[in-house]
Symmetry: C3
């Protein structure tokens, strides 16, 4: 169970980082840029969460192994992309990303609740944890955040719904790990449906 | 008196948020974007102040009611703007914004002084509290911050003058609330004159 | 020795600030913009370091004299640049900047190690301390960070190497000030060679 969640976490961090690598390459950045954007996309949300909630040491300072994984991934990916070999499947990436969306949301909400934040801010911290990395990636690439574009299927909304599911289960007295799993499942399902049927906000 | 300041605060937060809604719509963002930019414009300055001064919990985590107000405002505004109904008067907005400029400046300076910051950094924290939300709004919309444009009448300068007024009154032993009111009045007046007579920096 | 380091520090802060002034002017910002970009370029890295490591009060709140220096520099520079008198020598600026690169890297690593960060995150905090100000400058000017461009000679890499040198010397039991000096010397040399021979990342 613990190790099951760890696997999701590692996959999700790598999927977020990979989206950063692709974006950085698309903008013609060199390896310093690729690595920076990969780190920022993967850890931006968690870092914002920890800074807003005053929780130290930061996630990536404590679990520095993740930095090594991202470094290795970025080096491989940057090399492969250089030869135009994008071996990644768009669908696989989307699925892993959707798992990460749920996991990061739940982690943000869980930590905010632990620190006695009121419910609404806790839910928003969850959404930020899951989405801020992508926004920072787009800002560093000097383009309008994709998260805000009406052409993209709902993304933050899935995280927001997942956050409230987690809060509800937490208030009902569910074990944190169970609440986490259900939150991941719901967010994942919602996101996959959103992409499949192209759900968009009406305005 | 307390409730008078609370009314200014709510109006100012809403005026800042509204400027975010208008900007987000102008860039064609969907409702997630509109809401994010509204939050960021309204709370960006206060959040930066609290993070720089290490003051927790953050303003919007403690007073989560403001999040609800902004949510309601953004939903109404986004709907109305969709039908091209900008019912807001440019002049009214400018006046409320000028009140908020003074209020946020004073709040930033006051908190910085309480935490024993030296005077010059305290004044700058005041200016940042009042202006950073707008800068962040422009960065997220991927445009050069309006605050830095020579075509705009002085804005940060009004906050800077107001900050020093507050510091002066504080050192002279005025009650915080009185210093706050005078700071708001001076900043407001200066800003209104700046817009009316189009004061600009000479360089 | 202490005063020797202080001189490097002041020169480096001013060199960083000056690069901000030039950039802000190039984008046609007014004096508020010039001053903001100058502050951000000079203190952005150190502020990020302190916020990430939860170290308060912040550098520029404690040593507010630096704010005065930057204010004076920006006023002079903005006036001179207005009359197209860029008296600065590109080479001198590069040399001072290279000194600052080493100094800021070492300060970031040193503080991170003091706070018991693991080695890899400590090295990255050092690199961020030295480079983040420039990235923030470019983001506020709404352009892609120069740090990530393949046309620029290696910059972050010099800081990264310097960071590991510092860590190595620290582990070997060298006095902090000696480690600092050697780190500055190595980073400086590497950066000067990189510019002279136009070292670039292979990908």
């Amino acid at each position: 169970m613990r190790s099951f969640l760890s696997i999701i976490e590692i996959l999700a961090v790598l999927a977020f980082a990979y989206s950063g690598v692709v974006e950085a390459r698309r903008h013609g950045f060199d390896f310093v840029g690729v690595l920076t954007i990969a780190f920022v996309t993967a850890f931006g949300g968690g870092t914002l969460r920890d800074v807003l909630l005053n929780r130290h040491p930061l996630y990536w300072i404590e679990h520095w192994q993740f930095l090594v994984y991202i470094f290795a991934l970025s080096a491989c990916a940057a090399l492969l992309l250089r030869f135009n070999q994008d071996f990644s499947s768009r669908r696989t990436l989307m699925l892993i990303d959707a798992l990460g969306l749920g996991l990061f949301t739940a982690s943000g909400v869980g930590i905010a609740l632990e620190m006695n934040a009121p419910l609404l801010p806790a839910a928003l911290v969850g959404v930020m944890t899951a989405t801020f990395g992508g926004v920072l990636r787009d800002v560093l690439c000097s383009q309008k955040p994709r998260l805000f574009q009406p052409t993209e299927p709902i993304y933050a909304i899935c995280a927001f719904v997942g956050a409230w599911i987690y809060i509800l289960l937490d208030r009902l007295g569910f074990l944190p790990e169970l609440a986490l799993l259900i939150c991941i499942a719901v967010t994942f399902l919602l996101r996959v449906l959103a992409v499949r049927f192209n759900f968009k906000l009406p305005f």
